[in-house]
Amino acid sequence: MCEYCTIELMICVAAQFLKDGSTVGVGTGAPCAAAMLAQKTHAPNLLIIFEAGGFAPQLPSMPISVGDSRTFHKALMAASMMDVFNTCQRGMVDYSFLGGAQIDTYGNLNSTIIGNYDNPKIRFPGSGGANDFAGFCWHTITMTPHTRKRFVKKVDFLTTPGYLTGPGSREAAGLPEDTGPYKVITDLAVLGFDEGTKRMQVEKLHPGVSFDQVQENTEFKLLKIPVIEQTEPPQKKELEILRDEVDPHGFVIGR
């Protein structure tokens, strides 16, 4: 085993969820690093999509914007925002990778405001393409730091749909069937969603982290699967690729 930092662990865990031959819509930062790592390890045929129009680039280095020229470097297609989300809406994109300021037990995300809408304490950017990705892609994966301020009982603004108010509510709202939150990867644990209630459950704990510690950092009550295993630490090879090829300047992993 070798030494690693938490963000490296999160990226390596996230990469594992991306199957070879699948399609993924990503943002910049950690999600992009995870997709690049997956492409350079177990998923060489991972098709990465950027919302401004880049389809399947061979990324020369980490993009800074989801619309910069690196997002369509040696790509299969440089298209439009319309084409990207149409592709998602017709069911051809497996995963989307998101972040957010707040998340609730159903995986609903807030990236719009903190406080009261008409008189906000903080104005955040808003949906961007997050609402579209999470509405249309089959599986939504979220990466976020795990704190009580972020894992809240009720999001101040429901920017991006998780399982809304529980089982059946996405379909009742009109969103495509069989879509929704899949995994939440934090600095403490890997979480998923209970099949029956669609509530968030702890599935894996990072090395040295207890369930109670995760619960203490979560405002709502967490479910847990019967046997919670420890998150596998990153392998030496993964860390080498992440540090040397994916993010050599340490933009995301901070080295």
Binding site: G27, T28, G29, E51, A52, G53, G54, P60, S61, I64, S65, V66, G67, D68, S69, R70, T71, F72, H73, A78, A79, S80, M81, M82, F85, Q89, N108, T112, Y117, D118, N119, P120, K121, I122, R123, F124, P125, G126, S127, G128, G129, A130, N131, D132, G135, F136, F157, L158, T159, T160, P161, L164, S169, R170, A172, A173, G174, L175, P176, F251
Partner: protein
């Protein structure tokens, strides 16, 4: 179908194709030379109260020259389509200072932030003060609204925003699909008064080429009543006619063509130069203090005559040369 709901946000622009068709009918279609200075184009085609849309994607292929000119000419009471508006939003928000109100209403998909670079302190101050009227959307929603307008129809049905507060604070309406009986979201067509689009090449009539992603600009140019093009280069009409498949914006949509080399600076221009991250960081930094930001704006925007002077202050062609080495899509010499 029961329980059809409506967004409660304000609808800033009329989605009815009837007045838009009447406007487009009268628009000049013949090939006339539209080359103007940025200063002239902005003063002639951008009116106070207009609804504006900025092309490209925030820090990528943006019309910095036209955006600065709008701020410099102190245009006021503008509307804005904010589909991932990042540095472009930051520039326009600079016009909301000392009681002046450049931005009055914004359709928001993504504002205030500069993606991984962080939030703009000044844009936050403007948007948190309540002085700007807002309506929430998503990037796809705004792209669809422009496409509906480009198609000449009053709305497009989609399946986005459903069940979220983003929908509730939008001006979209749920409808029943006449074929499946399921719920859909009707997005009202958006016909901006004026679009600012930076392209790689245009001829003097406004036939334009873009290399790389078009984001929403092909629809934006068709949906907007007036279009100002800034171009890295003006090329001969023969070149356009020799490869018409490369034209993505036709001249009959365009009102002004301005030649502005490096005109997306400090943004990225695919195949030309990468974004100037140092300058963008500096801009975010000075915004923290209003007095310092005001001084910065006077140095870089208000007290310079044009974009070329701003570029010279920011390191000029030497800096552009450095940014070219960071741009991986620059064609390699044979």
């Amino acid at each position: 179908m029961t329980n059809l709901s409506c967004g409660t946000g304000p609808l800033f622009m009329d989605p009815d194709p009837k007045p838009a068709r009447a406007f487009f009918r009268k628009k000049e279609k013949k090939l006339i030379n539209k080359v103007l200075s940025v200063k002239e184009a902005v003063s002639r085609f951008v009116a106070d109260g207009d609804y504006l849309a900025s092309g490209g994607f925030g820090t990528n292929r943006i019309s910095t020259a036209a955006l600065h000119e709008i701020v410099r000419q102190k245009k006021s009471n503008l509307g804005l389509a904010g589909h991932t508006t990042t540095h472009d939003f930051q520039i326009l928000a600079a016009g909301n200072m000392h009681g002046e109100k450049l931005l009055a209403r914004v359709d928001i998909a993504y504002i205030v932030g500069l993606e991984a670079r962080g939030l703009s302190p000044h844009a936050r101050r403007v948007m948190e003060s309540g002085q700007v009227e807002v309506c929430e959307w998503t990037n796809y929603a705004l792209a669809c609204r422009l496409q509906a307008a480009a198609m000449g129809i009053p709305f497009l049905p989609v399946r986005t925003m459903m069940g979220t507060d983003t929908f509730h604070r939008s001006a979209a309406k749920e409808i029943t699909c006449p074929f499946t009986g399921r719920k859909l979201v009707a997005l009202p067509a958006l016909y901006p008064d004026i679009a600012l689009i930076h392209v790689h090449e245009s001829d003097c009539y406004g036939n334009c080429r873009i290399r790389g992603i078009t984001v929403a600009d092909t629809d934006l140019a068709r949906a907007s009543k007036k279009v100002i093009i800034t171009a890295e280069r003006i090329i001969d009409n023969d070149e356009i006619r020799n490869s018409p498949h490369s034209t993505v914006i036709p001249s009959f949509c365009v009102d002004a063509v301005c030649e502005v080399p490096y005109g997306s600076y400090p943004g990225n221009m695919p195949g030309e130069y990468f974004s100037d991250e140092e300058h963008l960081r500096q801009w975010l930094e000075v915004e923290k203090d209003e007095v310092e930001f005001d001084r910065f704006l006077h140095t870089y925007v208000y007290n310079v005559p044009d974009f070329e002077s701003y570029l010279a202050l920011s390191g000029g062609v030497e800096r552009i040369k450095e940014l070219r080495t960071q741009e991986f899509l620059v064609p390699k010499e044979l």
